[in-house]
Amino acid sequence: MTPFLEVRDMKKQCGAVKAVDGVAMSVGPGEIVGVIGPNGSGKTTLGQIKPTAGSVEFCGEDITGMSPLELSRRGVGRTFQTLQVFVKLSVRDNLIAAAQEFKGTMPGRLFAAPDAGLGHHADEMIELFRLKHVAYLPAGSLSYGQQKLIDIAMAFMPAPRLVLLDEPCAGVNPSLVDQLHDLLVELNKTQGGSFVVIEHNMDFIMKLCPHVVCMVEGKVLAEGPPKEVQSNRQVLEAYLGN
């Protein structure tokens, strides 16, 4: 399979600490790759795509160190550990705001209607994420779990070709975690993008991702199918100790 995202010898030095130390990985079209590892293993730093050395290629283009705006324009959607929602806007308006930059021309957008022709798509996403009953409420008035769903839905609104999800299950209750799993599977089928899921929740990753990368101390310790990684002795030691 031709790599869609190719990370080559990525290094990130933060002072004396090597947060990421020579990581190489690739993601194919439509593939869901999980990145696991204990705290401080460099998972999140890897997802930031801002290395001090090495390169990151997306569809054959070097995207190393690109700004969020440039990445977004190339079809890379992202969520972060912290929520990135607009608390005073309604759920529906959050979703529309997430995709409006990709709709029409700049002068056209200047006085375009607030839904920018995205209302129907936003309603579909609201239906999919089961947020219909809160669609017109301000995002800030909802629970953390619901805001997390909005955050993820926003990343998928412009139909990105690649989505980097950083700890999508953090702070989310177990029933929502199951819902999130089903949603990501559904979105992968319907939108067809590739996902990189950085997560602590082993069950979630093992169930969702056909390919898993385990990082420890900034390096890739093991990678492969979930069962293989799960039974790897070094991975068990990294998680459970000797």
Binding site: S72, Q84, F86, D93, A97, Q100, A113, P114
Partner: protein, 294 residues
């Protein structure tokens, strides 16, 4: 009763001008974290620009106003953002405050030395005279000011709430990081806010200069009162800025009429101090409650 109503109407008209400037303060703060202490001079400069277009180029007022809007967008919007705000904003609020205070002094002195130190008369865009409804009389200037300021505010609110760009501007004001990640062109949205602020300043200049006259220091009082109005209204809320402006204008008028004209200028400051003190007290109570509960 008729006198009281007249005072309220003319106070609201004056307050509407403060509100336009206060709105500029608030929008700049929300979008880019900029506090512009040269806001008063941003009103004074367009007044002189319009006078130049009228007296030197012989243009009618409406055309002078439109041309001044364009020049102000370029000079007080785009250039101000690129030359002063962009290089300084990453260093925090204090350098911005110092720079805009310096800009205020510089612009004033340059106008005084380079243009004139004299107060220049400026024709009102509205007809002279009073509209009389029995005992109740209100000037056409007050009605015109209220209508024009009201239309500008309604137009701005419609733009912010009913267009996709307006929503994107709100998104940037609420969470810049999220907006960047989602591909919203934050710099462009912030530029729009600076351009809007420049137009608000020109409208304020058009409405206020017939009363204040075009003078190099005319912005001092307007800028200060608009700042007070923005703080009184909550600083981070556009509706609060409007309310703050109107409140200052009305209370000034009532104080001038019923207490003494000498105290008129101190009303905004007094209101500002009351708001600041009550907010500090509330913050102290909140933090002591939080500390006690943890």
């Amino acid at each position: 009763m008729a006198d009281f109503l007249q005072l309220i109407i003319s106070g609201t008209a004056t307050g509407a001008i403060y509100a336009l400037c206060a709105l500029g303060f608030t929008l700049l703060w929300q979008a880019s974290g900029t506090i512009n202490f040269a806001q008063g001079e941003f009103v004074m400069l367009p007044a002189f620009m319009m006078l130049f277009f009228i007296n030197t180029a012989g243009l009618p007022l409406w055309l002078a106003f439109l041309l001044t809007c364009l020049v102000a967008m370029l000079l007080l919007g785009y250039t101000f953002k690129r030359v002063i705000v962009d290089p300084l904003i990453r260093h925090g609020v204090i350098p911005m405050v110092i720079a805009t205070l310096g800009l205020s002094i510089g612009v004033k002195q340059l106008t005084k030395a380079g243009v004139t130190a004299q107060a220049m008369p400026f024709n009102s865009p509205f007809p002279d005279g009073l509209l009389a409804l029995g005992d109740f009389k209100v000037s056409y200037a007050d009605i015109g000011t209220l209508l024009m300021a009201g239309l500008i505010v309604i137009g701005l609110q419609l733009f912010l709430n009913r267009t996709v760009t307006g929503r994107a501007m709100q998104a940037v004001a609420q969470n810049t990081d999220a907006a960047k990640v989602l591909g919203i062109n934050v710099q462009r949205m912030v530029l729009y806010v600076f351009l809007i602020n420049a137009v608000l300043a020109v409208v304020a200049a058009l409405l206020v200069t017939p009363t204040y006259l075009a003078k190099f220091d005319m912005g001092e009082s307007i800028g200060l009162k608009a700042f007070y109005a923005a703080i009184i209204g909550g600083f981070n809320q556009t509706r609060g800025a409007l309310l703050g402006g109107v409140l200052v204008g009305v209370l000034e008028n009532l104080t001038g009429a019923y207490i003494s004209p000498a105290y008129k200028e101190g009303v905004a400051l007094l209101l500002f101090l009351v708001v600041i003190c009550s907010r500090s007290t509330r913050s102290c109570r909140y933090s002591s409650r939080t500390t006690a509960s943890t």
